[in-house]
Amino acid sequence: MLIPHPLLGLRDSQEFTYLGDASLMQRPDASAENAEAQFCDYVFLRDNPAGVHRELWFHEQGDRSWLVVTRDTTTHEILGAELALDVKGAAK
């Protein structure tokens, strides 16, 4: 697979390490009342859709940026890739 790195252009997926569902960026608040239940969901529950999936890739053999890649899991078509820093920044 080739991943369109927002800064470096098309890069071979072999340069990356895969982590999984981008929901991992939404770490719960530890001070919340039901923090333990929220953390259980956060740690153990992931969506595994057949179709469009937002997921985290680490450009480990590259510029060390974490990317949020939108990929169709049924075709491996890559619909977009953003820097996780930008995604997180935009969410603020």
Binding site: M1, L2, D12, T17, L19, L24, M25, R27, P28, A30, S31, A35, E36, F39, C40, Y42, V43, F44, L56, F58, E60, R64, S65, W66, T75, H76, E77, I78, L83, A84, L85, K88, G89, K92
Partner: protein, 986 residues
Amino acid sequence: MTRLTGGLIDRNAPLNFTFNGKTYKGFQGDTLASALLANGVQLMGRSFKYHRPRGVFAAGSEEPNAMVELRTGARQEPNTRATVTELFDGLIARTQNHVGPLERDFMAVNDLLSPFFAAGFYYKTFMWPKVFWEKLYEPMIRKAAGLGSLSMLPDPDDYDKGFLHCDLLVVGGGAAGLAAALTAGRAGAEVVVADEDFALGGRLTMESDLLNEAAATDWIASVKAELESLPNVRIMTRTTVFGVYDHGIYGAVERVSDHLAVPGDKVRQTLWRITAKRAVLAAGATERHMPFADNDRPGVMLAGAMRAYANRWAASPVKRDSDAIAIFTNGDDGHRTAMDLIAKGAKVLGVIDAREAAPRFGDYEVFAGSIVTGTKGRLGLTAIEITRNGQSQWHSVGALGVAGGWNPNVHLASHHRGRPVWDDNLLAFVPGPNGPAGLIPAGAAAGKGGTEEALTDGMTAAITTLSEIGITASEIVLPKAENMPSEQVAFWHVPGTKRATKKRAWVDFQNDVTVKDIALAHKENMTPVEHLKRWTTLGMATDQGKTSNISALAVMAELTGKSIPETGTTIFRPPYTGVSLGVLGGGDTGPLFRPRRLTPTHAWAEAQGAEFVEVGPWMRAQYFPRAGETTWRETVDREVLAVRSGVGLCDVTTLGKVDVQGADAGEFLNRMYSNMMGTLKVGMVRYGLMLREDGHAYDDGTCARMSEDHYVVTTTTANAGLVYRQMEFAHQCLWPELDVQLISTTDAWAQIAVAGPKSRELLSRIVDEFDLSNEAFPFMACSELTICNGLRARLFRISFSGELAYEIAVPARYGDALMQRLMEQGADLGATPYGTEALSVLRIEKGHAAGAELNGQTTAQMLGLGKMVSAKKDSIGAVMSRREGMAAEKRRLVGFKSVEPQKQAMAGSHLFTDGTVQDMSTDQGWLTSSCYSPHLNGYIALGFLENGDTRMGEIIVAANPVEGQTVKLEVVSAHFVDPEGGRLRA
């Protein structure tokens, strides 16, 4: 000899080769199969299951029968196809899968037993009694199965990997492929054209068709010359594109030197990863046959293959020139073979055409409305039975060509689950619309197999597909060509063999699957094609049913009353043809299997005669044997005692190092580590425990605060990369608002542990005016400094051994010099290098956790570090570590001493109360690390024991059922050495 005239062989370059020990002569340009045929050899092997005599069936990589073993010794290679084996001088080939001589295979008894080996035989027969499987059935099947044999010697050859990028990949160098490559090449596109054959031209080299009213080879030569002259075009012959992967990535194998006796200074094969913006699939078509009774005798082959042998290799399919050749066809194509054979002077009996209105294109007999219903000849065809309207007559022939129509090679277009679609006019599957993105089929692979249409289609495909990536290609002047007649009727197999007991009509030669087997599979409800394949093994093995699949599903369609498209094909998957494991490894064997990381003092340690051990990708010195030491234990004991009594030196560069800088560095590390790091004073080091987000212990290390906004963090060797990745994740994905920058400096700094009561004395001899006194530089202090007259360094007063100890870091390129300087300066102090074994003994004696204790299943509480998980702040894993089940965990890290000091309890042993039954319910924990302690003169261990912290002095049992071993142990503190820590602070 049955060599014909002409052909693309070099008669001035004769080559000698042996086949089953007998010497033959061929020519440059021959394949093993063509040379054998030209020598009148028809019998080339035995079938897989019934050991039936078999001859060559095809002229390309689709060959199901002529499988041979090549070469000898370590280069012996089984299951190679004689049809694609280029002849070279001295080639040694043997047939395989027979016991005794090829002509009298003793395993042919299987053929007599064939009624017992019907479809699904394995599934039905070996199911019971169950105990027979391991002892009887499996060894028996294993002995009988398989085709060729391996040498069992290491592969002596080299392999390589290569990477290519292009605008257009052209798969196949025949009419369509060359037209596409030339069109794209002239347009300036970066082009790679790959063909599995050693010559360009594809089917053009095997036909008598004229281009521009001259031999096709003239046009091929001119195109080849032009393509070679273009810097933007790369021609790759002997290269099979075997698979399509995501986003335009293609896998290909180039057989660099398989056509040579030995590779010499070349690699044998190269695995290419080709990234192509667009691709033209010009892979041609494969002919199919029409099963009839006893159709598997040597001498029966595809009519198109027969034509190829005659035209390109000047080889006749018969044993003797006087033997006649017949063609059995359902269309015009079979007649072309008859015409070409006649033109070459071969003796042709005639064409048996299933069509009533069979045409005649030349001076030969036509058996219109006729079929072949039987054959004779034990080791080679001698006669065929021709039947017309129920009237049969036997004719003497030495060979029979079967022309059942052409199947486009849709394979690559059908990767990624692209399903081929049925074309009623062509009576074949053609590439469907949902193939791999960017791949466009052309020529015979797209069902356009006429020479003129293939040329045009190749050119058009290139223009069309290049326009999608912004490259404008123009039409080229194509050579004048024509499309040969190609009318045919749907005739799939000769009726009458589905239920007959004596007459068997083979569909899949390689797997010995007959029409009757398909009928049986249908009867047993294995009707979907994927079931049919598994039940009968049809379409499996090295040829993947290239000549048989479509015929088989036509038979199944007939049985079920469904149409062929409704019946469908099995899924196409890579590889197109077999790929050797050697080339997939790409030469990365032995020490090259993965990158090896060497410490800065590696060469020095080697010179000291160190033994090395692999630690992840690192090679670390394990111990440093001295003359007279006879066991590794002797060496390790000496090294350990040297540290405890004097001073030892150990390269600890492999520990991960992360530089953490920024105004929020302290806050960031507070969140990464379970304990507080933000409160650490500048110039001090703190031990840190990291948890996984699920609350389990993950990694430990030290954080040294070099300045207000600068920490140097260490990790374990094993987790160096993972912890850094996790920290980047936390920084970029969780808390980007924190002002912090991270960089891994593991390779930038060489780090040496200087450990033992004399370590301060040794260091004082190399530092530049630096106060090492306990007051100025106490336990857990850190500082930047210079040593050896100005070399910048970092000094940490930390101890893994429990002794007064330091770790000193210098830029990596000075690591070797530093080690040598320390050894020199410490000579009178008894400075002793020590390796990972002594390091491990020292830390077990001190009760420090390492990889065996931080194995991903343990918690901070278990490690006795529960209090380190700060409740004052959030950190990764903190919330989950307080879960009820985690908090209830009662096993604790403690030490153990063997009751009989010289008896070792192995790490991994499980712990039980003395006298209890040993099972899961009474299990009290396990041993993690164990070693001989020269300090205590006996075996000690660390482990997790239920309520271990309250059971000091108790005698328990360590059981190792794998070794049948039990050892009695006394529960003790994990701190075998200096539990008060006085030595550390000395």
